[in-house]
Amino acid sequence: MRAQSTPRVLGAALVVAVMVVILSIRLNTFRDYQIAEIAIEVTAVAGLTVLTGLSGQISLGNGAFMAIGAYTTALITLHLGWPFIAVLVIAAAVTAVAGAVVGLAAARLHGPYLAGATLLVGVALPSVANAYPGTFGGDQGLNVVFTTPGFLGVNFPLTRWQAWVCSAVALVTLVLLANLSRSRVGRNWRAVRDNEVAAALAGVNVARTRILAFVVSATCAGMAGALLAIVTELVAPGAFTITLSIALLTAAVIGGLGTLPGALWGSLVIILVPTYATDVATSHGLSSSVASNIPVAAYGVVLILVMLIFPQGIQGGVRWALGLFGIPSAPARPAASVPDVTPRAGAAPASQHTVPARKGSPPESQEKEGTP
């Protein structure tokens, strides 16, 4: 597959930026808020999709990195009062360090062990805020004050400014990630994901490559956390539960793992499905416990159905749909290079056993392992 050229990427980003500005002015303030929310989600999910989709590492703890970014933002804003752009950079740097630490600890872990370790990071870290209420405000959290800059005038809606800031960060992140994935770093990630041993033999420093992926993904999550802090104006542990971490992974997979447009699709599902399901459920005069739980159940059904209907995520479906119109957005061969995935269509659990630990190696090479 040929890489997209930088000008094309920048052009696409510019188009989206213009769209955001137009939409944020045309739509009502609540939609501005939703744009900001989606941009935040996209930022975090894009980082995770790089980690999981490109470097092959799972993280169920990226919500904790968001918490780190958010608390950093709150603490600096509260105590030092620095401008947001500086705070954002520092939040990114702090979470990058946190990502390096976790990545270092996780470098030897695989599959469910990595999932378990990161899950606990996601559960444990926010509870630290409760243990040290003096610093982190405990359960009530820390307030963040964020205002529109003076040059926009007094009447400029705050939500619109928030939407712009969040979208700008999200777009810059996407452009950088797109470049990164095309670079040598991205190639190394894929090499390590597909076959660690082969990558190591080819001279790739496996541990460093894996850790770098964690750093990148944590940095994205940290920036998303910083944005979340200025949009919700409060940083409290209740916002960073394990549900958040799981939602991020869900968004990445639902959207289409390893694809940046997929990060957007996944974010849209995560943010919009519950909202619309709630609107539908509450408008039918059902009893409260039924109406409030229908969106929950519907969300579960959506997750299951998307995964069954679009195994490659929504972006996979989009590619397929575009392909119907002959638009060559799809990669030439979706899965042809990995022949062992579906040895027999339909109910064929035989191969899944051989899939997980040593990923992606075709059966012929795997059978060679039998050499004593």
Partner: protein, 295 residues
Amino acid sequence: MVEFLQFTLSGISFGMIYAAIALSLVLIWRGTRLLNFAQGGMAMFTTYVAIEVVHHTGSYWAGFAAALAAGVVLGAVAELAVIRPALGKPELNAVIITIGLLVLLEGLAGILYGGQFRSFPAAFSVIGLRAGSTPLGVSRFDVFVAGAVLATTLLLAIGFRYTSVGLRMRAAAFNATVARLSGIRVARVITLGWALAGLLGALAGVLVSPSTFLYPNSMDSIFVLGFTAAVIGGLDSPVGAVVGGLLLGVALSYAAGYLGSQGSDLTTVVALVILVVVLMFRPDGIFSGARVRRV
């Protein structure tokens, strides 16, 4: 000293619950190489079934049996309906499907039973036992909990080791290709594994609910700790699941007991520390050594 005993015993009784969840995860992992995030949700749902049965029949044991039966059915149906179609697809798809299943079950429980705390009876007295005049901090029911989990584990171990079905399950888990080529219907074996996991989860739900009360999310934190226990023990090892569960239960009990009010805040941090330390030395869990690496 008395406190130490009490911390230990109460830790063991909770650890047994984590062990039961961990065991169910191990069963599914060995059969399907999949983490079942819906395990806690399935346990929650089957406990609601048990409550309904207890309510209508007035018999605790009827509810108990109904929960286990519902667990078997739920496990098998889940595997057949949503997991099997996802096998052979990217491996995270099935994980997301189990998350979807969890959310769906929690939503359904809310729709059907409401979001309130429900209390589930205990099989035996919840009044504490004493050694002489010293209260031990465990009740007859806690002893039953530990006994039930241990007995189930033992039964499973014996079944795995000495029966033909057990041999089929192990063969399918260790090498599905050879198993299929030997005529073992691996798909059925996997369904059976899910059914057994459902049963274990249901057991955990029925046993823990008197101590947590029941609501749609009541198994969430139990699941996290059960999962942690399985990872600590090694996901391929049933023995590891039990050891991991006990280790975690006791350690968290000490943390809450000895670290004061910060200890209760930091229970999950303590769990994280244990997990990290274990994985530092054994990246595949404590009992990974018991499993032979395929050459």
